[in-house]
Amino acid sequence: MRFMIMVPGNEESEAGFLPENADRDKEMFAKMGKFNEEMVKAGVMLAGEGLQPTSKGARLRFSGGKTTVIDGPFTESKELIAGFWLIQVKSKDEAVAWMKRAPFGDGVVLEIRQIYEAGDFGPALTPELREQEERHRAQMTAKRQS
């Protein structure tokens, strides 16, 4: 089973990496690097990324056939994300056990979500669509490795 874990954003992540916080950030990177190393060695970690502040992002709202683009920052949103992991484990309990060991300080709340696998969709994923989906995945893997 694959799970996605969302790391929430806050004022600090929204400010980006500032030179005056370099020492603190370096310490955080070292802790994260060690935690990631453990997950990689255990064959659990598939991906992990950090996201730039929402000030560098945009939102598209789809409504009535029209699309509205709003540039960041999205300060009104309480549910910002600053990064994520993708992990492969045997159960939700195992995903939770890994994340309890993540090096976070007080106030951080991680969200753990199971990823849909092709087999979950039942007849909605016709053999043709499934074949196409598998081809997309093969090409994405090739692109990531290029």
């Binding site: 996605m4 969302m6 990496f17 370099a22 370096k26 310490e27 990177f29 070292a30 994260m32 690097g33 060690k34 990631n36 190393e37 991906a47 990324e49 950090g50 996201l51 730039q52 929402t54 560098k56 992002g57 945009a58 939102r59 598209l60 789809f62 409504s63 699309t67 683009v69 999205f74 309480k78 549910e79 994300i81 993708l86 939700k92 939770v96 994340m99 309890k100 993540a102 976070f104 300080g105 007080d106 951080v108 709340v109 969200e111 753990i112 979500r113 199971q114 990823i115 849909y116 979950d120 969709f121 909605a124 016709t126 669509l129 196409q132 989906e133 997309h136 994405m140 692109k143 990531r144």
Partner: protein
């Protein structure tokens, strides 16, 4: 540059465990994924089961606390994402515009941090 297109479907915060997209959406999404693949921009994509099947880990006082879903106060819940490689934020927005989203959905576009964005000592601290 890599961008994550994060999907926030309307109403997904209250989706019941086991909720599945219907055949029409799966077909439209697969066609859109095909266009991203053909253009050579697609790096990854996934759909997420409802939050009601998920869990939260809260860190406080050195002890992580686990709470299982559903979460009544959740508003903007992520339904899935695409990871794409394009030349600019504008390109990312153009791709997002073409996504076959139902009314009320939101796509949030976020640039991904690259290791090369950081100074050498930070890269070293991260084990690169």
């Amino acid at each position: 540059m890599r961008f994550m297109m994060v999907v926030i479907p309307q109403g997904y915060a209250t989706a019941a465990p086991g909720t599945m997209p219907d055949a029409g959406i799966v077909e439209r999404m697969t066609r859109y994924n095909e266009s991203l693949t053909k253009a050579g921009v697609l790096l990854g994509l996934d759909g997420l089961h409802p939050l009601s099947m998920g869990a939260r880990v809260s860190f406080s006082g050195g002890k992580p606390k686990v709470t299982d879903g559903p979460f009544a106060e959740a508003k903007e819940v992520i339904g899935g994402y695409w990871m794409i490689q394009v030349k600019s934020k504008e390109d990312a927005i153009e791709w997002a515009r073409r996504a076959p989203m139902p009314d009320g959905d939101i796509i949030e576009i976020r640039q991904v941090q690259e290791m090369s964005d950081f100074p050498p000592d930070v890269q070293k601290a991260a084990g690169r």
